[in-house]
């Protein structure tokens, strides 16, 4: 069966880096990613593993960075080669299983996976303090235990990944059943939405705050949806989005943004909303919280310029090596905080006393906000170069999320 496999190959890695200069996703044409025939992967060591066949598997910004050879070298030790990418996965269980709470899941059940490979999949006992409290995204044991290194499914040679028709292995602790009413397109949005939910729930947003969102790709739009829903009724007072493309601005406003404007207008709109001044390239009063959903030098610089004195900049879009003037961070005593993945969120009004799983919140949000519509196109694995080029130019081409359909069926009803 076909799978896209990423191998360690320095020459191809260098080539992908060069070619990607002509467009994000273009690295797939010459890089270490190859379409190959594979057998179903071997079952990983340890208990609780079930094979699933992916129905859809999304292409994420981090995937594009990997394909283009532009991922941070920070991750070199956190992956194992060769690996099958694909961590945004909705699929069907091959056999009976249980979910992380121990509830039974029959073979054929549609599931999404929570791809972080923390202590439970790695059979590490006792679990680390983070995993013990459900904060699997903060697990430090990403290279230990009975699995090869890999921070997530889709970066680990043992588990396989979503870009494969041969299936992948998921641990019980990773499984979430997909409600019957949720389409596959909506379900494949759960993982990126969980990232957004976690970012929003940990961003320190107070009721009535002005929140600026820089970037309106998949992460930016799911952040906007989360801002309007997962903090209610104590949500922000205004959500202002800087979005490069008209369809992104339309979607942002439909998902609840107070205003969605071109990036160049964003400082003016934030300044207006906060009734502050504009001095030295920064908005003096500024947004209480800025959520950077792009992770570039430009977006981080813009975010620092938009935050009020004492404000917070949350970095949600995966950054690499960036160059940015930190003078505003120092002078205005800003807090720059990362927001990675998901886990267990502290309770808000209406939540159970011990809080909720981020993925559960994301499943609710995807359904209530209709985030399935963000999936713009699906491709068979055989057309991976086209798919990755489409994902790399999603904004310019009027798209948001591009996904693979490993067992592609022409005309599949959505």
């Amino acid at each position: 069966m076909k799978a896209l496999v990423y191998e360690r190959n320095v020459a191809r890695f260098a080539a992908s880096r060069v070619v990607s200069a002509f467009g994000s996703g273009r690295g797939a044409t010459v890089g270490p990613l190859r379409l190959v025939d594979v057998d179903p992967p071997d079952r990983p060591a340890g208990e609780g593993w079930t094979r699933l066949v992916p129905t859809l598997s999304g292409i994420c910004g981090s995937d594009l960075a990997t394909v283009d050879g532009r991922s941070s070298r920070y991750f070199e030790d956190l992956v194992s080669f060769p690996f099958v990418p694909g961590h945004e996965v909705v699929g069907v269980l091959d056999a009976d299983a249980t979910d992380r709470s121990g509830a039974p899941l029959a073979a054929g059940t549609r599931v999404v996976i929570e791809p972080v490979l923390g202590c439970a999949p790695r059979a590490i006992e006792p679990p680390c303090p983070a995993c013990a409290t459900g904060h699997t995204g903060a697990c430090p044991h990403l290279t230990d235990g009975r699995l090869a290194p890999g921070l997530q499914t889709g970066y680990c040679t043992d588990t396989g990944g979503g870009w494969s028709a041969a299936g992948l292995w998921a641990h019980a602790s990773q499984l979430h059943a997909v409600p019957d009413g949720l389409s596959d397109e909506a379900a494949v949005m759960v993982e990126p939405t969980a990232c957004a939910v976690h970012a929003v729930r940990t961003a320190g947003i107070a009721p009535g705050d002005v929140v600026a969102v820089v970037g309106a790709g998949t992460i930016g739009l799911t952040v906007v949806a989360a801002l309007g829903r997962v903090l209610a009724p104590a949500g922000p007072g205004a959500v202002i989005v800087g979005a490069r493309y008209p369809h992104q601005r339309d979607l942002a406003e439909r998902l609840g943004a107070t205003a969605a404007v071109e990036p160049g207008q964003l400082p003016r709109t934030v300044r207006r909303a906060t009734r502050s001044l504009a001095v030295a390239g920064s908005v003096t009063g500024g947004a209480d919280v800025v959520i950077d959903c792009a992770g570039t030098s430009e977006s981080l610089a813009a975010s620092l310029a938009l935050a009020r004195t004492g404000g917070r900049v949350a970095l949600v879009g995966m950054p690499g090596r960036v160059q940015v003037d930190l003078a505003p961070l120092w002078h205005r005593e800003l807090t720059l905080a990362g927001a990675y993945a998901y886990g267990h969120e502290a309770p808000l009004a209406g939540d159970p006393p011990d809080g909720r799983r981020t993925f559960d919140l994301a499943l609710d949000l995807v359904a209530s906000a209709g985030l399935g519509e963000l999936v713009s196109a699906t491709y068979p694995l055989e057309r991976y170069e086209e798919a990755l080029a489409h994902a790399g130019a999603a904004g310019r081409r009027g798209a948001v999320k591009i996904a693979f359909e490993p067992r592609y069926r022409k005309g599949r009803a959505r």
Binding site: A259, Q265, R268, T269, R272, R275, S276, L277
Partner: protein, 529 residues
Amino acid sequence: MSPRPGFVLDVDRSTPPTLFWHGEGFRLERLPVGSRVVYAPEPLDPLADPRSAIRHALTHPLGDSEPLPALLRPGIRLTIAFDDVSLPLPPMARPDARQLVMEEVLDLAAAAGVDDVVLIAALALHRRMTEAELRHALGDRIYDAFAPAGLLLQHDAEDPDALVHLGTTDHGEDVEINRRAAESDLLVYVNINLVAMDGGHKSVATGLASYRSLRHHHNPATMRASRSFMDQHHSELHTSNWRMGRLIAASGVKVFQIETTLNTDTFPDAFGFLQKREWEWNVRDRAGFVAASKALERTPPRLARRIFHSVRAPHRLTSVQAGEVEAVHAETTANVHRQQLVAVEGQTDILTMGLPYISPYNVNSILNPILVACLGLGYFFNLYRGRPLVREGGVLIMSHPTRPEFDPVHHPSYIDFFEEVLTETTDPVAIAERFETSFATDPWYVHLYRTGYAYHGVHPFYMWYWCAHALEHLGAVIIVGGDPATVRRMGFRPASTLADALEIASDVVGPSPSLTHLHTPPIMLADVT
């Protein structure tokens, strides 16, 4: 030979193409046979000896005012306020009318031993004038005598210490004006009446007022009830200003009003063809037009703008009146009418106009899209007395590039108005209700208005309110040659050519509509019967 009056041409097959202004350029358009073209009167002969005329006016005041020399005594506080850079258009060649008048006033003050004299540019909510602009308006002698000593001020409508609330009119209108002007023993106001709207009580009640005061008449309801605001007796804008002016007078503020009128000699010789009717163009005019048009086609807009803004108009004084405000203004208005009135019989289905590069609010700057709308729908549409040139439900076709360009120094709040307000609604009433206060009190705009060269935060709203009467009256507005997205943002329809515009207009006014072209500038006032 005496100057010819205004003229309405009936277009026939022999009529040459008609010149339309198009921003920093021109278009020649062949109008349908049967169309009318309204031409401005030729420039009146100027005063032969303006300084003598000024001295005569100051010593022979109108109304119940004493001559100026009798009002000037040692020890009094004298304030001389003057119209700002928005007048005249284009800026007139030196010496400016304000300089001529103020030199005479200051000579009289000096002769009378008045040594507490302050000059104030009556900005209202306009941007501050630059040193070069002040020198141009007042002359170097006055500037150098007053500015270094801090005696040449620019009205600051946001300085609470520099304002005084004189009371409210019987219509509940706050009257808050410049404290120095109000508390002076004598306030001399030096005006340039470029159009009939200017002058009278509007000089002090608007030019030296605060937002708190101005909001009572700069609003959609007042503008819709001003038909037109070029006709004082049918203008709610003026009625409100007159109430305020009378309250100012009743409060004890002694105003000595000096009003001047200019002829319509608007463009220098190099652009002489702009002053003429097309069928009267001689070889030199044709050559001038071809040279200017071809050169401008090849010139980047920014450079073309700079060239045009360096134009100085050969305007000359046609009259000077001084004394009591209302008596002076009645005479001034008659003199404006003498120069600008053109009799026009009947309204039209379609009114066309070419918009130039300049309006009162973009001297040395960009005519941004909101100012385009204001120039066409506010100023030119309202250049009527009696009835609008275009019938109710008719179509206005304007020609202008209407690029989405803004001057961030002069018009910062315009940018946000365009992005934040016009994306929501173009209805002046809804705009006023939902957005005005937020912009008017925005601290950044206030800061830029007070310390930089920015129009007040509320100013783009006023420009849009200026359009309110036309927006309510018209069936459609079409802009020829404008940036389509920008035109649509303002609720108008874009057309690439005049022919396209007429096709679009036929959906509104039907086939075979009547068409009238307002051939301005030079400025005129259509007396529509």
